[in-house]
Amino acid sequence: MGLVLDFATTTAILFIVTSGLMMIFGVMQIVNFAHGAILAIGGYVAFVITRVGIPSLYGCFFAFIAGFLVGALIERFVVRPLYRRPLDAILATWGLGIVIIQVIVMIFGRGVQLVESPLQGTWNILGTEYSSYRIIMIPVALCIGGVIIALLNGTRFGIKTRAVIMNENLAESLGINSGMIRFISFSIGAGLGTMAGFFITPLSSVDPYMGVAWLTNAFMLVMVSGHSFLALAGACLVFGSIQVLVSIYVNPVLGGMAISVLAAATLRIRPKGFSHD
């Protein structure tokens, strides 16, 4: 039972961390290398909010808004001019990541900050004691996934976004302002990133480099998933479970590499990865 919970919570956490990246990659075909820094912003939002004493339930909205604004600025001033040079856009977002992290260092210092978990202790699930905060991550991930899918499938914005994903030129000629779609999706993606940073904070400590550790795994998961959020959830489940297994039965260090290596191998064998279209 403990193992099943490990699988489920690892999947949930991975999904939370990658969803923002996916939003951006799906629409713009750009991997946002600043994602690590954006996760860190979320962590510091959590840090500030617990200091000020705002209940953490509202905290995640603050985190989302902070990320949304940062994302909007990045899109407008850095990513947009590089639209025709995707590899350069990757590099520029990496550079921005450095800038954001250094700004955080200058404000909060380099040290590790601890944020108290809003939900402590363990819950008893079918006879297994398990960290309650990790369990909470499962409904959180389901909510995030549900909202995104509802947004993409049930709203006008979603239809336009999917049109841009499928065929940008055609979408533009039908009068869809694809620049605006890109702008909004990038901002939402960044917002999801900070929210993820907010949620993972109680699991790890807060330091300016906290996001970097998640970065490559998140990239690889998004790469194998193509455009689809369902594929992303599947990839998180499969690779997350393998990571858990390798960490427990082989070696935690190898477990840390499992996702990257397996995802790379998957892409080498099947370039489309998990997406089926």
């Binding site: 800038v99 200058m106 840390g256 590499m257 080498r268």
Partner: protein, 587 residues
């Protein structure tokens, strides 16, 4: 003095002065920093070769650098230091990273690999190596690395000159290579990989080998660094260090060899001073500088520093054209045979049971309305993996599942619909790359003579591009670009030439001259030309045979008159019968 010479000589001279005079001018701390900077610069050269020249964005060179450093650290720590062990470590530091790089190359480059995929793999490599080092326990020293091992007992001045010499040798050798005829292939791959494949170049093998060499070189630089500093830390293998190399190269100027050399040295030196006084601000400045350069000055800073110093002048010694001897290997039998070729996407059949033959001297016009499958037909001839059924033979040899670069070696040349050329290379360089499979280019020299088959010289003379050998391909007019691509394809000495709407967007007079060329190619030089065209009038004048494609099937094939005058063709090709009549009446 020419521009390219100035942009090389000034930085080279600066580096030389720095290397020779360093120990006399600087204090020990500075000398120490510079020695490390020289080794970093060697690693930066490899990043520049891979990214700046070849267009492969890599975050992974730190893995090879670090692996080389660990070769020194591990051998000297566990086996001890002696001249034999030093030699062993030196050899290992070239071989192990080199082999690792070849493996990474095999993983990253294959037929149809997206450039972005290769980039992501390069991201995984340093992470894997880093984790392996961390999990190595006492053997690798885990997170604290290896320190305190015995190493070469040189004076610091000697180290300085050794390091400087290594850097200069690496830089000058690379400089000679990238300016050689073979070095231009790297730029060609960056500009247009597809065209390279259709010129018979196996780009993924080239890139894998290049990565192997670059990995070995970076490994050796890492070995020297480890042997000098006496400290080997896991950070040397890490992903952050790999991105730092990219920052050095991007800031100073990718694709300019001496820019990254000077940039790496400067940034390393400034960093070592400023990171003590204002560490975070310096990182911040570097980050902002990096982002701004990427956004506003993608070529980096060096070209802007150098430009005011160089006057505009003519190019280096002009290239002389001469006629190449062609091996006479006339085709006996059919030049191309397609037997029941089909192509389907899922349940959609784009081509159904295409059977046609072409002989030397044929000029086959393939006509049909939009969506008839004309371009798909060309693709099935040019790429063995494209068709889903049936067989194709070129010059009597089966196409099988061969990739374009192998198909080209069977004797096929494909001209694309849009001028598919190497934008930043000059006309003569484009043509020389097209000759690669006939004439192995030199790794060190730039040839002053360009030998081309007589018919290529004809095409160039008729279209006037023989006067523009030094012009960059992107500065040619649309018609000239089409002529250049045609010349490149013909320079392969193919037996079968695929021409996909070669006259699209050309003026009437250009059309006429190009039509005359096609006739000559088929009738005089015995090529088998397959010409996809919309313009029935154009085809009518030059073709020997016409194939009508409609909804993926061959509706009709035969003599020009027979096809053009058939009621069937008039019905489908011009829409309705009556409108066909009207157009006849207008004439």
């Amino acid at each position: 003095m020419t521009k390219s010479k100035i942009s090389t000589q000034i930085p080279m001279l600066l580096c030389l002065i720095l290397v020779v005079a360093g120990p006399f001018a600087f204090d020990t701390y500075m000398v120490n920093t510079l020695i490390k900077a020289f080794f970093f610069a060697v690693a930066a050269i490899t990043v520049d070769l891979l990214w700046g020249y070849t267009g492969y964005l890599t975050f992974g060179q730190s893995a090879f650098f670090g692996a080389g450093a660990y070769c020194a650290g591990l051998v000297f720590t566990h086996l001890g230091f002696s001249s034999e062990y030093a030699l062993l470590a030196g050899v290992l530091s070239v071989v192990i990273p080199g082999l690792l790089a070849l493996f990474v190359g095999w993983l990253s480059f294959y037929h149809g690999a997206a450039p972005f995929f290769s980039c992501v793999i390069s991201l995984v490599v340093p992470i894997v190596v880093y984790q392996l080092v961390l999990s190595g326990g006492n053997f690798t020293g885990s997170s604290s690395g290896l320190t305190g091992f015995e190493t070469f007992d040189f004076e610091i001045e000697s180290w300085y000159w050794i390091a400087g010499a290594i850097m200069l040798v690496a830089a000058i050798a690379t400089d000679i290579f990238v300016k050689s005829d073979a070095g231009k292939i790297l730029v060609a791959i960056r500009d247009n990989e597809q065209r390279c494949e259709y010129l018979g170049l196996n780009t993924y093998v080239i890139k894998t080998l290049l990565l192997g060499v670059c990995g070995a070189l970076a490994g050796f630089a890492g070995f020297s660094y480890g042997a000098f500093s006496g400290v080997v830390a896991p950070e040397l293998t890490g992903f952050s260090f790999g991105t730092e190399m990219i920052i050095w190269v991007a800031l100073s100027g990718r694709g300019t060899l001496w820019g990254p050399v000077i940039g790496t040295v400067l940034i390393t030196v400034i960093s070592s001073y400023l990171s003590n006084s204002i560490p975070f601000v310096w990182q911040l400045i570097l980050g902002i500088g990096f982002v701004s350069v990427i956004v506003f000055l993608p070529k980096g800073l060096l070209p802007y520093v150098i430009r005011p110093l160089s006057r505009k002048s003519s190019l280096d010694a002009p290239i002389k054209l001469e006629e190449a001897k062609i091996q006479d290997s006339s085709v006996s039998g059919h030049a191309i045979v397609m037997d029941h070729v089909t192509k389907s996407y899922g349940s959609l059949d784009v081509l159904k049971n295409i059977t046609l033959t072409g002989d030397p001297g044929d000029l086959i016009g393939i006509i049909g309305p939009n969506g008839a499958g004309k371009t798909t037909l060309m693709r099935c001839m040019g790429d063995g993996e494209h068709r889903t059924g049936g067989s194709v033979e070129i010059c009597g040899r089966d196409l099988g599942k061969k990739h374009p670069e192998e198909v080209v070696r069977l004797g096929l040349g494909r001209k694309f619909q849009n001028a598919n050329i190497f934008q930043t290379l000059s006309v003569s360089e484009c043509l020389r790359i097209a000759r690669t499979i006939r004439e192995r280019p030199s790794l060190v020299r730039t040839s002053k003579v360009l030998a081309l088959p007589a018919y290529v010289l004809d095409v160039m003379k008729v279209t006037g591009i023989d006067k523009k050998l030094g012009t960059a391909a992107k500065d040619l007019s649309h018609g000239e670009q089409q002529a250049l691509e045609l010349s490149m394809v013909l320079a392969l000495e193919p037996k079968v030439v695929l021409l996909d709407e070669p006259t699209a967007g050309l003026t009437l007079s250009e059309r006429r001259s190009i039509g005359a060329i096609f006739s000559a190619l088929a009738h005089k030089y015995r090529f088998c030309c397959l010409l996809v065209e919309h313009d029935l009038e154009f085809v009518k004048e030059i073709a020997t045979k016409i194939v009508v494609l409609y909804h993926g099937t061959i509706l009709m094939q035969g003599d020009v008159d027979e096809v053009v005058n058939s009621k069937l063709v008039q019905d489908i090709y011009t829409g309705t019968k009556s409108s066909a009549r009207n157009s006849e009446a207008e004439k």
